[in-house]
């Protein structure tokens, strides 16, 4: 359950990213995912939401080994073996194998929260009270024109009081519970998992099995010997680094393959009929 919800949350972010790659010219580093105001009591600060982490994944495109055409996914019906066009696809919620309840776009939309342009802080909390398991995805908030001063004031006040704001925030189709805290001179927003998304770990813990004091002390001592300050810069994704190394080498050696010039798939209705008709026509032409 947790996994699927997380995946759904990711899609929103992915879409925002995909949009960016379409227009490299517009891809200024500060481009926001959302903009609006952050407010509490009588203060409203215009801000923009930008990403705080860059996922470390090296992603690949699937190519056809015959001509290096980039491949696309299509929905197909395993019964008929035919590709199903998007306009013929609807949503069903499976209640038992083969039995579904249909849900329309309108119904989905009716439960989506209204788009909102504000992050309304409802409470200030002590972040130490928040179990890290709740933290989902971090972002930065940057001030927009006219909001710089109040932004700075909010950052300083949060720092001095060591408190973080708790707010509700609509991004994409979902309403998120978020924390807003000071990080250096900036505000960091982090989406939280809802309480019912957190699974209990109890079932994974072993049944009671008393250990002796000597055993307990031995483990405690070995932990003590290994204590060191948290320094994340010591670690990195080894596979990613090696992979990027290989890619860099291959780029230097110009080991690239070229795709045929196909910006879009010939996916239109009737495209296959057209191709078939052309082949027929071609035979006639060749005969003279």
């Amino acid at each position: 359950m947790k996994k699927t919800k997380k995946a759904a949350g990711k899609t929103v972010k992915k879409n925002a990213g995909a949009k960016k790659t379409e227009t490299p010219a517009d891809n200024i580093p500060m481009q926001g995912i959302w903009s609006g105001t952050i407010s509490f009591s009588l203060v409203a600060i215009p801000v923009r939401l930008v990403k705080a982490v860059e996922p470390g994944r090296v992603s690949f495109r699937m190519l056809h080994n015959k001509d290096y055409s980039p491949l696309k996914r299509k929905m197909f019906c395993p019964d008929s073996g035919k590709i199903v066009p998007p306009e013929e696809i609807i949503r069903g919620y499976e209640i038992s194998p083969g039995k579904h309840i249909m849900i329309t776009d309108e119904e989905l939309e009716s439960v989506s929260p209204d788009r909102s342009r504000t992050i309304e802080i409802s409470e200030f909390i002590d972040l130490g009270e928040v179990d890290p398991i709740y933290f989902d995805h971090p972002y930065f908030l940057t001030p927009l024109k006219g909001g710089e001063k109040s932004y700075r004031l909010l950052v300083e006040a949060m720092k001095r009081t060591n408190k973080a704001g708790l707010a509700k925030f609509v991004l994409g189709e979902r309403e998120y519970l978020v924390t807003v805290k000071a990080r250096g001179k900036a505000l960091e927003l982090c989406t939280l998992h809802y309480n019912d998304e957190i699974l209990s770990g109890d079932e994974y813990a072993p049944k009671k099995d008393e250990a002796s004091d000597a055993e307990k002390n031995a483990v405690k001592n070995s932990i003590k010997k290994m204590i060191s300050p948290f320094a994340p810069e010591k670690y990195s994704d080894q596979r990613k680094e090696k992979l990027l190394g290989i890619l860099k080498e291959k780029t230097k050696e110009k080991q690239q393959v070229l795709a045929p010039e196909t910006e879009e798939e010939g996916s239109a209705e009737g495209y296959e009929d057209l191709v078939a008709a052309l082949e027929d026509s071609m035979k006639k032409i060749k005969k003279g």
Partner: protein
């Protein structure tokens, strides 16, 4: 007498022309004043094909052998009477482009040494619906205009079998452009792209030694590249009757299909290169062989 600068009046509008003696085609000793003369004479034929379209100026301020640049934005120093249109640019931006709707605008843009005039396949008012499909035939190395002619004639055969009327013009360089007028206001660039891509793919499958639909230069040797991706809202094609920047002032020239066949039969690639004066003579004699591009309504089958 200083012939380098002058002011003329067209349709009651004053135009200041400059650098008239500047040689822009050095190998042919062809000057800006001659370019202006050509465009003024060809105006009745070229203007209908430019009208209402966002013009991309390909400017050669120091002649065909020197640096050139594309100007899509209508220059800010344009006269107040010059018509422009806002067209979509990129995904979210707009761009104000010149509309070469009349002789005075044509002369004004030529005074900027816009030797080549490139226009989109759609009019500025309907940026999503192309008025035609184009097959841009571009010969690779060791191929030339005769290979293009072969490919063009096969494409015409395919179009004929689909009851689609088509027209052909020289690119003014080594290529040929085959056009299918649509003028329906309904066909989208996705449709025309799919259509041209299907034909390009089918041609490549059936004539692998003659045709490629892949842009990479290496796959083009001895072959004709069918650049179907020109069927895009963001792309432009050199207009019929536009001059080209080459050694000699050649023009993109509409042809009859029979003529093309004859040139192929005679194995006469040179015959398929028309200088500005031949293009002008032909236009006066034959009329505008591209006139059906302006109003002939056709629908693409299957799509």
């Amino acid at each position: 007498m200083n012939t380098n600068k002058t002011t003329i009046k067209i349709n009651n509008r004053d135009l200041a022309l400059s650098n008239l003696d500047k040689v822009l085609y050095p190998a042919a000793n062809f000057t800006k004043s001659q370019i202006l003369k050509y465009y003024s004479s060809i105006a009745p034929y070229i203007l209908p094909h430019l009208k209402g379209r966002a013009m991309t100026l390909k400017r050669y301020p120091n002649g065909v052998n020197e640096d050139y640049f594309f100007e899509k934005r209508c220059p800010a120093h344009r006269p107040g009477w010059l018509e422009t249109a806002d067209i979509p640019y990129g995904t979210s931006k707009q761009l104000n482009a010149c509309l070469v709707n009349n002789l005075e605008t044509l002369v004004w843009v030529e005074n900027l040494a816009s030797i080549e005039l490139h226009v989109p396949l759609c009019s500025a008012k309907t940026p999503l619906t192309p008025d035609s499909v184009v097959f841009d035939l571009d010969p690779g190395e060791n191929a030339g205009v005769l290979e293009c002619a072969k490919v063009a004639l096969i494409i015409k055969g395919l179009l004929d079998n689909m009851k689609l009327w088509s027209a052909v013009k020289t690119s003014g360089k080594k290529g040929l452009h085959v056009y299918v007028p649509l003028n329906s206001g309904k066909t989208t660039f996705d449709d025309t792209k799919n259509f041209s891509r299907a034909i390009a793919g089918s041609m490549q499958n059936n004539y692998p030694g003659l045709v490629t639909s892949i842009m990479a230069k290496t796959s083009r040797d001895k072959k004709v590249f069918i650049n179907w991706s020109q069927n895009d809202a963001s792309k432009t094609m050199v207009a019929a009757y536009s001059l080209r920047a080459a050694d000699k002032p050649m023009a993109s020239t509409p042809l009859g299909w029979k003529e093309l066949k004859a040139f192929l039969k005679k194995n006469d690639p040179a015959g398929l290169q028309f200088t500005y004066s031949q293009t002008l003579t032909r236009a006066k004699k034959n009329g505008d062989l591209f006139s059906a591009m302006l109003d002939k309504k056709q629908r693409l089958p299957y799509l």
